[in-house]
Assembly symmetry: C2
Homo-oligomer: 350 residues x 2
């Protein structure tokens, strides 16, 4: 009756609702229904969707070609493999899984089934990320030696499964998956050569409610990625240092600026009093040797994620969020936990 | 003719001039003269001071009880020991020396001579440091789990001996000595259990023009100390996170604030759109659950440094900047270089 791709959601909590709503709005998709172990999560489904009584019932429905799995992290693997083996194409919420071994099992299931299997790394379409990536890609600042990415809140971690380690809770596996995926994508084709990580346990003893990662790439680039949930004052979302200038994006609204040196020769300064001492090194620049520029907003439409999945299902495009990228990210997550647990730098070639 | 303490300066460049000027203004001191290997540095000495023709001539002048050594770092040891062996009390500019072995030789010389030997750690009197230390000492924020101290400039490193490794140049041995001394003093009586350091070589291949240190103390406190000289946009000078609030001091003028949670129970939030995704965790707080407070300025007078040295020479006070503190600081400097060179976490008990 239509060439729309029939789709459903498994796990219809907050993120499941996010997906079902957007599926129902998507002209390429036909949202058919959802399943959740809590039936109350299935009231008022968009598009008059069906509330399935069991996972098996949903997977047996031949109208469904695509499922998005938005359950707690610890059951992604089992459900994704079942769905693939039922012939469905599958989107998993992030983090796709908590170990590389599990991910390899899932990717193998997708290969055996000949189906699309990808992960909802939606924040590759975040305007702040795309604006910073644009500055980096264009070499606006000259050779960049440091990038810092911070996401700061002050509400602790959510009180549901997200603060339970056995269900894959904690900030590394929540926001960390986003900021670390952005890091890996922004810095391509560099290889990651070392990782040092520290996890916070401020509001919670069971799983991390924040982290700080210092990653070094093979050309010497340092990338610091940080998430905090006990930060009542936020540091800027992005901070980038190049040989000829710096860039900052302070918030989600893309407030920020680029400051470039305009006169390298004019480096000399009158010493200033800073604290109780004199400093020439730290004397602020005067406006005759620097120039200020606004942050350029670049395009980017999150709907491209589902557009790409649909095109890949139809065989018209390669998938954007690939198995190889997810393997690299999950290996990085494992490395972050290992580094923090041992309080050691982990050297690798990733 | 007076009970003033006769004093002189060895090495009369920028910092030497700083000392001679302040000695001449100090009612407890009688500035007598200075020596420098460059005679042009000895023109127009304050107080009509004497320009000595040699180090030996200065050290032989019995009117001089106290000398301040403000030479390049690599000759501190030789000159300090000669001065102590001539019966002088000695202040060394920072860093006192580059290796612990050298410092131990200098401290031993002071013990043999029975003279005061201390280091000009003037930034223990910086108002920004004292204000932040006050917040920490008073436990204003509840248990503090993270302190960040940054000094950012954009002029690279000075072009004199300060960019030559063999003379003790580089930012670790310049501003690093200040911010790391402040770190050790602020966090007393905690012990330092690990250090991870990264050095920057942006404008200079020969010595570091910036660094980032992540130090962990025995109660889990994380202290990040950073100096940059290619930062055209500065991050805040101080940032402190406690369980119940955060504090920031943005600049030398003590702009900043404290933000405290006022209603812990009211943690729930309406999810916000951040980038292209929803987040409840990172939803900013509303003003009904937090309170803003100004940064309290606390007393602090740099002249107390010389007042203390004079009192210690007269046998009336213990010295503030002690041999043990300097040993700890120099050991930390060695650790920072070792960690950065090997790209490894160094574990210790310091």
């Amino acid at each position: 009756m239509s060439t729309k791709i029939g789709c459903a959601v498994i796990g219809h909590g907050g993120m499941g609702h996010f997906h079902s709503t957007r599926m129902a709005e998507n002209p390429e998709l036909d949202f058919i229904g959802a399943y959740d172990i809590l039936p109350e999560h299935l009231a008022d489904l968009p598009n008059n969707g069906k509330a399935y009584a069991s996972l098996e019932e949903l997977l047996a429905d031949d109208r469904i070609q695509l499922v998005t799995v938005a359950t707690p992290n610890d059951v992604h693997k089992e459900i994704v493999i079942k769905a693939l083996e039922s012939g469905k194409n599958v989107i998993s919420e992030k983090p796709v899984t908590m170990t590389l071994a599990d991910l390899d099992d899932m990717n193998a299931a997708a290969d055996r089934a000949g189906r699309v299997f990808t992960v909802h790394q939606n924040r590759r379409w975040d305007p702040d990320y795309l604006a910073m990536k644009n500055i980096f890609d264009k070499n606006t600042l000259g050779k960049v030696f440091c990038i810092e990415s911070r996401v700061h809140g002050s509400r602790g971690i959510p009180g549901d499964w997200r603060n339970q380690r056995e269900h894959g809770g904690g900030m590394v596996l929540d926001w960390g998956v986003h900021v670390l995926d952005q890091m890996l994508m922004m810095t391509l084709p560099r290889k990651l050569v070392s990782v040092y990580a520290h996890l916070d346990y401020v509001t919670n003893e069971n799983c991390d409610d924040g982290f700080h990662v210092e990653a070094i790439f093979d050309d010497g680039l340092v990338f610091r990625a940080e998430v905090g949930t006990s930060n009542f004052i936020s540091l800027p979302r992005w901070y980038m240092l190049g040989e000829n200038g710096s860039a900052v994006i302070t918030d989600w609204k893309l407030n920020g600026e680029i400051v470039m040196v305009s006169d390298w020769e004019n480096r000399d300064a009158v010493p200033i009093i800073a604290g109780v001492g004199l400093t020439k090194t730290m004397a602020p620049r005067t406006d005759d040797t620097i120039k200020h520029y606004p942050i350029e907003k670049v395009g980017g439409d999150w709907r491209d994620f589902y557009r790409n999945v649909c095109a890949a299902i139809r065989g018209e495009a390669d998938i954007i969020v690939t198995h190889a990228q997810q393997r690299r990210l999950v290996k990085l997550l494992e490395t972050v936990f290992a580094s923090a647990e041992r309080n050691e730098v982990v050297k690798l070639e990733l």
